[in-house]
Homo-oligomer: 142 residues x 4
């Protein structure tokens, strides 16, 4: 495992909520990040689908890791939007985020969230947002 | 407690992920919903703030309940966007969502997320999105 | 007319596209801006409604002026989202934007776009976005 | 020129605002649309860049044409978000939109807006949104 993936895994492991959800960083290189979440009962809503909040979590966190891969570890998610496409039914969620554009201070990223089940991989949500580097001037904002 | 709030609380209690997060429905009337989340360690990120995924969860779910308050219980969140304003540090998160416009098939809603701590209530995120009623023709979409 | 409104009107008049659309700044004070667009044939789409691009223009520009009212004149719109609610049929569009939160470097704003016709004022779109102050470090981004 | 592109060009030509902006439909096939806008003085803001409202217009309209390419001509844009990446300086804007997912009633699409100048093509904005088919039940909404 390369160093950056190892450091990313440590960052994720230091987030109690990511541990609660059970997310794993399964890919991490400059401009790209992949998060994987095994689907358990406690991540679902009342109809047996993965709760939209889990899909938002994994999309938002993948965007943040992608942004951090080019901006450094001191980043925050400024904003994002998400479109849900299909009910997420399956065994694993995978969020893949890429950096579309970055300056010194922020990165605009997109993320695709897939659900894996019975040998199929289906796109279940798409997201787009802004990750900002935390600077002295932005601390009040962060 | 009125009937609609009671029914809303049952709907929330039937979502395993909402139980995991510890969310409570604290207000629910036509065109309006309020969700409250006591802040625990497991809802935080590495710097001690509430994880952005929790804030997204509560914003998105409040939007959904607000939409459901006018469209009926068979609804899904189609899409939303969120802007994070401040680190969420405190003891309780409160998300208040209102319906801005609704047709027979969907509602556009806004949500404000506040964090309460040491007697202060601070706005920490704002959100806007679309809630859709599930119909036969939209089932493939939902 | 107060000085800030006068300066704002000059800024708008210096934008050739705003002149083409026929927009007027009808309100401008710290944290708030109002743009008005008389509806002409050339602003419509094929069904006689105001084109969505005009509504986006006026929402986005009102967001920018609202942000500029607290950040100063050197600002850019980083991002926004818009939900269209109703066909815009009438004689005048009015976009009213307010600052929800601002730091030294950016402002998060919301905008409501109304269409006026036959004595009625109807909300036809709602928007939310981020306005950034142009700084040396953000110039590449702007 | 194939029939669908020809029909798309007629639809665009029937929008007075698209004629005012000078947009051309330069690509149109199932799941995909491309709009091109020659950059003229009247499309600019006060610093000589293309006005953000023009970029929003072309992104939003390309999303709509992409959605219409799979849903049929009776469509409306429900919502979208846009992130501006760079000042648009050049001679031509090109917006390329693709359908990410579609059901019978709506399509979720993404759009990339490029600015062409001095032999370079630079991405200047990215967008994501929902296009809805107009049905009897959605007419109030449209």
């Amino acid at each position: 495992m390369d160093d950056s993936l190892q450091l990313g895994k440590q960052a994720l492991a230091s987030q109690p909520f990511s541990v609660l959800v059970g997310a794993e960083l399964t890919g991490y290189s400059p401009g790209w990040a992949e998060l994987t979440v095994p689907i358990t009962h406690q991540l679902k809503q009342q109809h047996g689908f993965v709760h939209g909040g889990v899909i938002s979590y994994v999309a938002g966190n993948a965007l943040t890791f992608a942004g951090g891969s080019v901006l450094g570890p001191a980043v925050v998610t400024s904003e994002y939007k998400i479109n849900y496409l299909r009910p997420a039914i399956g065994t694993v969620l995978i969020a893949r985020a890429t950096v579309i554009y970055s300056s010194k201070t922020q990165a605009v990223c997109r993320c695709d969230v897939f659900v894996i089940g019975e040998g199929e991989e289906n796109l279940c949500a798409v997201s787009q947002g802004t990750i900002a580097r935390i600077t002295q001037s932005s601390e009040a904002q962060a």
